[in-house]
Symmetry: C3
Subunit: 136 residues, 3 copies
């Protein structure tokens, strides 16, 4: 694996706790293996990174059934925001807010959790996206 | 980034306007950065590319909440079909309909919007998918 | 395409029949083109691989509309579990259960269909994920 393949880009679209947890686990795993991680927050995922509500209940994916939901909700795992924090401590992980989605939700950089490093457009994100790209 | 990594493959499964917009933004961003884009339309995404209804309301992802939906719906952005058109004008962007999904929805090539270049099987798609592959 | 790019990693999160079918078609297509495939089962996708219910009805994505669902459900395609079996016969396809999701659903390896090769953590999965990574 060369340097470019080591990089992992995560385009986060969904804002539910289960998908954000899955994304955070991939970020932690990649960072632990020495891969740099490039996160791009769009739509509902961006909305979930608001400073005042990042720890609020963001529900589960609509596909979660009545049998599955309790197992997922009661699992005493680390909150996804904490996992992203750990990933940033362990490795080179950058979290970018999509400029277009910021405009859509009328958000300013200060409205977002400090986990978010900056606001950027899709072209800037694409320029850095040299390895696998995962849409969640 | 070598030639192969510059290529971006988008497997589109979802047919809602928000996910198709997110996909179109990635396609435009990649094309603008000189990357070739290889789109494969399956299931609900293929259904959304019907010639007669491509501009119809395709709703939002079921996870959109009552608070989020109005912001997304009222955002005066360019329609995703227009973004795909722009991406094709800017760069090398090919849109393929999945043969299996065509059969599923009993569609013929002429039923689809001219944005769709051809119908192909998954093996042909895979043969061209040399760079990152994104499933939306 | 070099050896590493030939590998394809599929992170399966969704447990609905349509998304699992789309994933299985990608796995078969990749295996047929001589690519190795590395599957990682999380959340609802892991739950769908239970030995006793793998062939049960796992419903469709919540976005399927009343117009679309009948076409998808009535399409006489090969079941996704059969497609994964074919992919394993054709090529080098490994199916791993995510250790964290196993814990979440209180599952043991023996509860899962024999299609699943082993249980592993995300770091082990990441170490093998050298090519494109697709999240479904």
């Amino acid at each position: 694996m060369d340097e470019e393949e080591k990089s992992l880009s995560l385009v986060l679209f969904s804002g539910t706790d289960d998908k954000l947890s899955a994304a955070a686990v991939l970020a932690v795993g990649a960072a632990a293996m020495g891969r740099s991680v490039n996160v791009f927050l769009q739509y509902y995922a961006l909305d979930a990174f608001r400073a005042d509500t990042i720890r609020a209940d963001h529900d589960l994916s609509p596909e979660a059934t009545a049998e599955q939901a309790p197992a997922v909700k009661s699992h005493a795992g680390t909150h996804w925001s904490e996992l992203f924090k750990q990933a940033k401590e362990v490795g080179e992980v950058r979290v970018h807010a999509c400029a277009l989605s910021m405009e859509m939700f009328k958000l300013e950089k200060d409205d977002l959790d400090p986990l978010v490093d900056d606001v950027e457009g899709v072209a800037a994100f694409m320029a850095d996206a040299t390895g696998p790209m995962v849409f969640i």
